[in-house]
Amino acid sequence: MRIDAVGRTDLPDQQREALRSAVRWEWFTIGYTTVTIVLIALVVGGSQAMKTAWVEDMLSLIPQISFLLALLFIRRRPTRAFPYGLHRVMGVGHLVAGVALLTIGGSLAVESVVGLVKAEHPAIGTVRVFGATVWLGWFMVAVMALVVVGPFFYGHAKAKLAPVLHNKVLYADADMAKADWTTTVASIVGVLGVGIGLWWLDGVAALFISAGIVWDGIKNARTAILDLIDQRARTQDDSGAHPLIGRIVQRLEELPWVDEAAVRMRDMGQVFHVEAFVVPRRRKVRVRELDEARRAVAEIDWKMQDVSIVVVPALPKEATNESVVA
């Protein structure tokens, strides 16, 4: 464990291994998705649902690319110019991914609604394979049935790694991959609908897929913005306040010279920035005691990247001083 003047800067073995694994999965996903994009391009035809699923596939690359790019930055140590390190790059990448999903998903949704209102009948012709004339729709169904399997594997693998690394980009990425099969099934339903003469089923499927993209965009942009404007640190799935806040309060109040303690903790993206306020029992506090308190907090968890202890006469209201937070 390495604790320097302000906090921890090393990764424990478990996190180091998880990070290596996450990087491998992200590269695998990029490779897999590239193959599916090429496969779908071969059969995309006149189906709006297929086109939407295709664009969704391309958009699904953004979280992986922003994760890998952000990693290059967050590994750098703090400097005088960037005294908090570059951890927020992860949040910026998350925001960019969210906004991209939101805008492109929105324009696809508008496109499919316009198509439905104008009653545009999707045209799907035939192709000639080995001397036989085959409807292109069958190839669309075949390709989509093939590509449906991948996201199950990498989605669940990343979902296991995200909590270990406390990484919201990875969590969101895994979440989207796990829901990806709905997109694939919707596009198959759309194409088969066109096959039996129900032209509108294609537009409805496209609308369903684009609504999913918009929803992913809203979720991602919202999570990223809330962290960038420094809401109280929450768990990686955003389900509640992070339990570490309570553990810090508890740890500080165990110290004999501390009367009460409260914490402001923000999520820098994968690591935390902690400001702990302590009210001492007596009027004098030793430098050694303060340094021990800081060290004690940093030792609680690897995510304690940046810890400052502030001695105050009374706790600020906005700081949390419960030992169990939910």
Binding site: G46, H121, I124, G125, T133, V134, G137, A142, G195, L198
Partner: protein, 154 residues
């Protein structure tokens, strides 16, 4: 993984072939059903040897293909001779079932009407990507015509 993909594709292709006979793809507006044993409303716009118009007589390579296609479906052809733009309008508003002329795969009308695959092997096409125009999304009719052309020239 690769042999599995190939075999999956093969299964899908076989399945597709088996199901092609079962009325998939179908026409949203039932064009092919209406034409079979009835009337095929065809539009023609003159273009070199492909489509020739002499008074009410329409002849050439493409009208012949349409006549043969209709004959194979016990249908009679009713010809309308007009400009390309008017033919496209008629297709879009459901007054025509097919239109032929010198249109190629690069035709700008693809926004308003369905365009078949290109048949550069047609006699008189001189290697140009000759296509036939259809009402948008009448996929049953398109599959039937493309299948017929594949048999004839492919």
């Amino acid at each position: 993984m690769r042999p599995r993909i190939v075999s999956a594709l093969a299964v899908a292709a076989t399945l597709a072939l088996a199901l092609t006979g079962c009325g998939i793809p179908a026409d949203p507006d039932g064009s092919l059903d209406r034409i079979t044993g009835g009337v095929l409303r065809a539009g023609a716009s003159p273009s070199g040897n492909l489509v020739m118009v002499d008074g009410d007589e329409v002849s050439g390579v493409l009208p012949e293909v349409i006549e043969d296609f209709a004959a194979a479906r016990d249908a009679r052809v009713e010809w309308t001779v007009d400009s390309e733009e008017d033919l496209v309008d008629d297709l879009a508003s459901g007054r025509l079932d097919v239109a032929v002329g010198g249109m190629t795969a690069q035709t700008p009308w693809a926004e308003q009407v369905s365009v078949t695959r290109a048949y550069p092997e047609l006699p008189g096409a001189n290697g140009a990507d000759v296509v036939i125009l259809l009402p948008m999304g009448e996929n049953g009719l398109q599959a039937a015509i493309e299948g017929f052309l594949d048999e004839e020239v492919g």
